[in-house]
Symmetry: C2
């Protein structure tokens, strides 16, 4: 499989992206297209001389003369910078020269590039960014987590159809339980948006279990949690922050009771596993569902491991031909209601 | 101080409410009015015979012939059941026979009763339910957490003014940092509602520090986090759920590595402190800001300790005369912009 990587995007790019590409090439048979300013990328790859036989790895540099920074206006930057690493990545997929593209840079710009070059799947109103959230049994898919901050009920319906399909195909969950994020379980609880979306989701050909509350996401009550991108983004970042804070608090408390320090060597194994469980770099990236082609968007603060996992997430998504499945499901729903 | 307690409301009422009243009466000089069906409450109090000298405690039963269940329609129930424990509680405050009322029952009905009998403070558009959320340094106030699911920008502005005042007076934080919950720090990030609210909050006479993200709430970046009641409710419940899930995961991980069990006796002290830190029953209840008089709304699943703390939260709020402060601040803002 050929994966195009926006090597210039991300808080720690190009160090993190080049490292991620090397990890991915070493651990898989995928071909990685490192897209960015050639001179910089060659220099970065040279740093690995002696450690790895870089030349033998399945990595190819694709030159792009510009790049988009984290604080640029997404749509404007994509329109103006036709030769940015992101735009080149998206075109590689649109032209069939890559199977997927991955970016851990400006996420708004990555979405814009996907929309601009890959186009929306016919019938899809808005693409949704869906990500995994750790829960008691493993993970839950949350969509949307930031692509659409103001939503119509119909968007939430489609997020439900798309994310359910993604959860079934890529995460391998049979008949995934889809819940609508709200403020109470009863169908009468919610705001204007969710009350209207509830009625639509009930009629969709998915396993809709009704409203779920904030606690049900980590609690394992649903496999897919649907919400607008504003709420999804708050949920995602609160989850990250709370996990960090809890670990800090544990450390702080342990310091206040010196006697507990004696137990630390024994705790090491448990803490290592727990970290892994709640470590977002393990999941790598979030697919943008609803575009023709695969686009994976990762956390700006991704390290090499996270970039590698985003590349693998891209390959996994390609394997299951999600776009075709979404096209079919949306068409089926639209035909049913017309 | 005289606190009226809705003794019939709550998942474990009247056992939890009567226990909470006994705890509060024992630990303070407040007079507790136990409002509810007299026969039931007398029976409940009798259970404490032998353990406590109930008669010597400053507790008085106030009879109410009806009560409102958790699943009744809030406004309708309050309008129809004039002699419900909740309505009687609210009237006791309105008539000056109690200084505050506390309920851990149907929270929508408690708000309706407060609005119906206590009335809104002049100039206040919507009252806000504000609660404390544990963070790395202690706590952060979040408002609104469920009173208003669909908001106008002006509501969020007033939530900021009211919650800032509450944080300053009751929590004792000087010049509290007020943040608007959004999806990025930049003022250009947000949805339609927050973008408009940002402009208003900037002009208010509070220490507005701009947008904050989900992670900043537990991270300790703000003393007051402002959002609509839908988001606030999701934040609150996600926080509860995630904390529970983390503790469960720790236990699960420890079980998988039997060697770590040896360390458990040492960990006990740290875990006890940590639990207390994140235990919502420590804070008891959330004040409904913006009504004439004090109304404290607690968690439906409150136990006796949580009810006691809700009673104390009511007394604390009365002491600082929050309603007068809010009246003045809202008037001042309205005069400035007119």
């Amino acid at each position: 499989m050929i994966i195009a990587l926006d090597a210039m995007g991300g808080d720690f790019a190009p160090a993190s992206t080049v490292e991620g590409a090397i990890f991915a090439a070493k651990e898989s048979k995928h071909k990685i297209l490192l897209v960015g300013i050639e001179k910089i990328l060659v220099g970065e790859l040279l740093k690995y001389r002696g450690r790895y036989d870089v030349k033998s790895l399945n990595i190819e540099i694709v030159n792009a003369t510009e790049f988009i920074t984290m604080d640029e206006h997404p749509a404007k930057a994509v329109r103006q910078k036709k030769d940015s690493s992101l735009s080149v990545c998206a075109r590689l997929v649109a032209d069939g020269k890559a199977d997927a593209f991955v970016s851990v840079g400006n996420s708004g710009a990555a979405m814009s590039a996907a929309l601009f070059y890959l186009k929306r799947i016919e019938g899809v109103l808005r693409p949704a960014l869906s990500t995994v959230f750790p829960n008691i049994d493993g993970h839950c898919i949350v969509a949307d987590v930031g692509a659409n901050v103001d939503c119509a009920p119909e968007y939430l319906l489609q997020f439900g159809i798309m994310a359910s399909l993604f959860c079934e195909k890529v995460a391998g969950v049979e008949n995934p339980r889809v819940g609508l994020v709200s403020i109470g379980e009863e169908s009468t609880k919610g705001n204007e948006l969710t009350l209207a979306a509830f009625e639509l989701l009930e009629k969709a050909d998915i396993n809709f279990i009704g409203n779920v509350e904030g606690r049900d996401i980590p609690g394992g009550k649903v496999d897919v949690a649907i919400c607008d991108g504003f709420i999804g983004n708050v949920i995602l970042k609160l989850g990250e922050g709370l996990t960090e804070t809890m670990l800090k608090l544990v450390r702080k408390e342990l310091k206040q009771h010196p006697i507990t320090w004696a137990s630390l060597p024994f705790l090491w194994l448990a803490i290592r596993d727990l970290r892994k469980r709640v470590d977002y770099s393990e999941f790598g990236g979030a697919p943008l569902l609803g575009v023709e082609g695969v686009c994976i968007i990762g956390h700006g603060s991704s390290n090499g491991k996270a970039v590698k996992n985003a590349i693998f997430a891209g390959a996994e998504t390609v394997k299951h031909n999600i776009a075709a499945g979404i096209r079919e499901a949306i068409l089926k729903y639209n035909n049913k209601v017309v």
